[in-house]
């Protein structure tokens, strides 16, 4: 492609697209890099800490308890909840609706 030159708008668009494909250098304000939050549930000890996929809080559930079981069950979201898959499967067994019954959630002592 180094030997070819774009002569019309369509050809320029093709060049632009190819450059995007290769991940060319881009100004920071054009496509900000994704936020870097620690992976895993317990890499930081900060109960209640949770961010959304953009690194903020606007995309979180309201109230936050609505999101509790997705953080806990699938265990992929970096929120501070016990580990369902290995260590604390019964942590919330008595609590069907987290927003209403959160008082029934057990305590966990790591």
């Amino acid at each position: 492609m180094r030997h070819l030159k774009a002569r019309n708008k369509k050809a320029e668009a093709v060049f632009d697209w190819l450059e995007d494909e290769d991940g060319d250098v881009a100004a920071l304000q054009q496509s900000p890099p994704p936020p870097h939050y620690p992976a895993g549930c317990t890499t930081v000890f900060s109960p209640g800490w949770e961010v959304d996929s953009a690194g903020g809080t606007a995309g979180l559930c309201q109230p936050v308890e609505r999101d509790l079981y997705d953080c806990y069950k699938t265990c992929y979201w970096p929120a501070q909840v016990p580990d369902y898959l290995n260590n604390h499967p019964d942590w919330a067994k008595k609590c069907a609706s987290a927003t209403q019954d959160w008082r029934k959630i057990d305590l966990v002592f790591p």
Partner: protein, 373 residues
């Protein structure tokens, strides 16, 4: 390249021709679709509820054996459900009509945990494809094994690895589906691969990752099966002249190997897609919500900031097309008027969702209906 051009041409024809048929189904399917259904939905920790669309109330329940379900698939007649439970180590087989668990499988041993991240079922329900990932528990460490794609035979209780072609990686989360005739496996990635269920060789490939026309971005689709072999979803692509992401509706018919799309305009904050039973209205949501006239192929109603914060993940249109059920996160089902998008009522589901509602036909609740496994 010819196939790509043909696909692009077919796509554009679909987009430009107002008379093009966008989803016609058999009379039997049409009839089943227009009858009020039952929502099969799971709530924390181990309950599966049957929610009747006619009365907007729960009419039945079953209990799983090993707690929370992660994935759910059904045989084509919805008579049998297969759910990954037991902290992703078991698959439970549910008799939908009798409301009980009738079978289960588990591959874990004391020294080796095998977790399932996805599953697909043959139409007969006798063989199960599994995206499995194993961890060996050594005395001083864990050994994380490579992901495998397995096939489990419920008659012989035997498991064997499926030799997938190199183009398809058995990724973490499952993306395989079995075709309605059981002869092919469909793998959804950036493209759709059609693989023979006998030889496991690629039979066909539907290209979505390449631009439809020079300069456009790839077709990014999140399709959901609406009827056997037919998927609908919101797609996105980049317009090279406007330099803007555009969105539209895509229909993938994997039986006929057809892809149809039509563009709706500059990007909207929608990801989920639901179709009315008569196929005349489409609904894209849920940060914004757009109502799409599927015949005129345009947006007829739009509500911005329909849901804020984390959105729900399930939209189901009632059989009469007048109500939209939104749910999947938290403990509530929100019912909206499809004409005005005003909320009609909020229904407490009985607990936090673990299986988002799936609409099944009433015939699946009849124990005398077609029964295979």
């Amino acid at each position: 390249m010819n196939a790509l051009v043909a696909l692009a041409v077919a796509t554009l024809c679909g987009a430009l021709s107002p008379s093009a048929s966008f989803g016609q189904a058999s009379p039997k399917l049409e009839e089943r679709r227009r009858e009020p259904g039952i929502f099969f939905m799971g709530v924390w920790p181990d309950r599966i509820l049957y929610f009747d669309e006619k009365t907007d109330s729960v009419v039945g329940e079953l209990r799983l054996r090993h707690g929370v379900a992660n994935r759910t698939v059904f045989t084509p007649d919805y008579r049998w459900g297969f759910l990954i439970t037991d902290r992703m180590e078991s698959v439970e087989v549910v008799d939908v009509a009798k409301r009980q668990v009738v079978d289960e499988l588990k591959l874990s041993t004391e020294a080796r945990k095998v977790r399932f991240f996805g599953l697909a079922i043959e139409p007969s329900g006798r063989r199960i494809y599994l995206n499995a990932r194993a961890v060996r528990l050594e005395i001083d460490r864990f050994i994380d094994e490579k992901p495998e794609f397995l096939i489990y035979d419920r008659d012989t209780k035997a498991t064997k690895p499926v030799p997938l072609p190199k183009e398809i990686k058995p990724e973490f989360w499952g993306s395989a589906q079995v075709s309605p005739d059981g002869k092919s496996l469909w793998f959804f990635g950036r493209d759709v691969y059609v693989v023979s269920s006998e030889t496991y060789q690629i039979q066909d490939k539907i290209v979505l990752s390449k631009p439809l026309l020079a300069g456009y971005g790839p077709l990014q689709v999140g399709p959901r099966q609406v009827e056997p072999g037919v998927f609908y979803g919101i797609y996105r692509t980049t317009d090279p002249y406007l330099k803007k992401p555009m969105y539209g509706v895509a229909r993938l018919d994997l039986v006929k190997k057809e892809v149809e799309t039509f563009e709706l305009g500059p990007n909207a904050r929608v990801g989920q897609f639901a179709l009315s039973p008569d196929r005349k209205r489409g609904y894209g949501g849920l940060n914004d919500l757009v109502v799409v006239d599927m015949e005129q192929k345009k947006v007829i109603l739009r509500k911005e900031r329909f849901e804020q914060g984390r959105t729900n993940n399930s939209m189901i249109v009632s059989a009469d097309g007048k109500k939209l059920y939104v749910s999947g996160v938290g403990d509530s089902i929100y019912v909206y008027d499809t004409a005005t998008l005003a909320r009609l009522k909020t229904i407490f589901a009985g607990g936090d969702f673990m299986v988002s509602p799936i609409r099944i036909p009433r015939s699946a609740l009849d124990p005398s209906s077609v029964s295979n496994p």
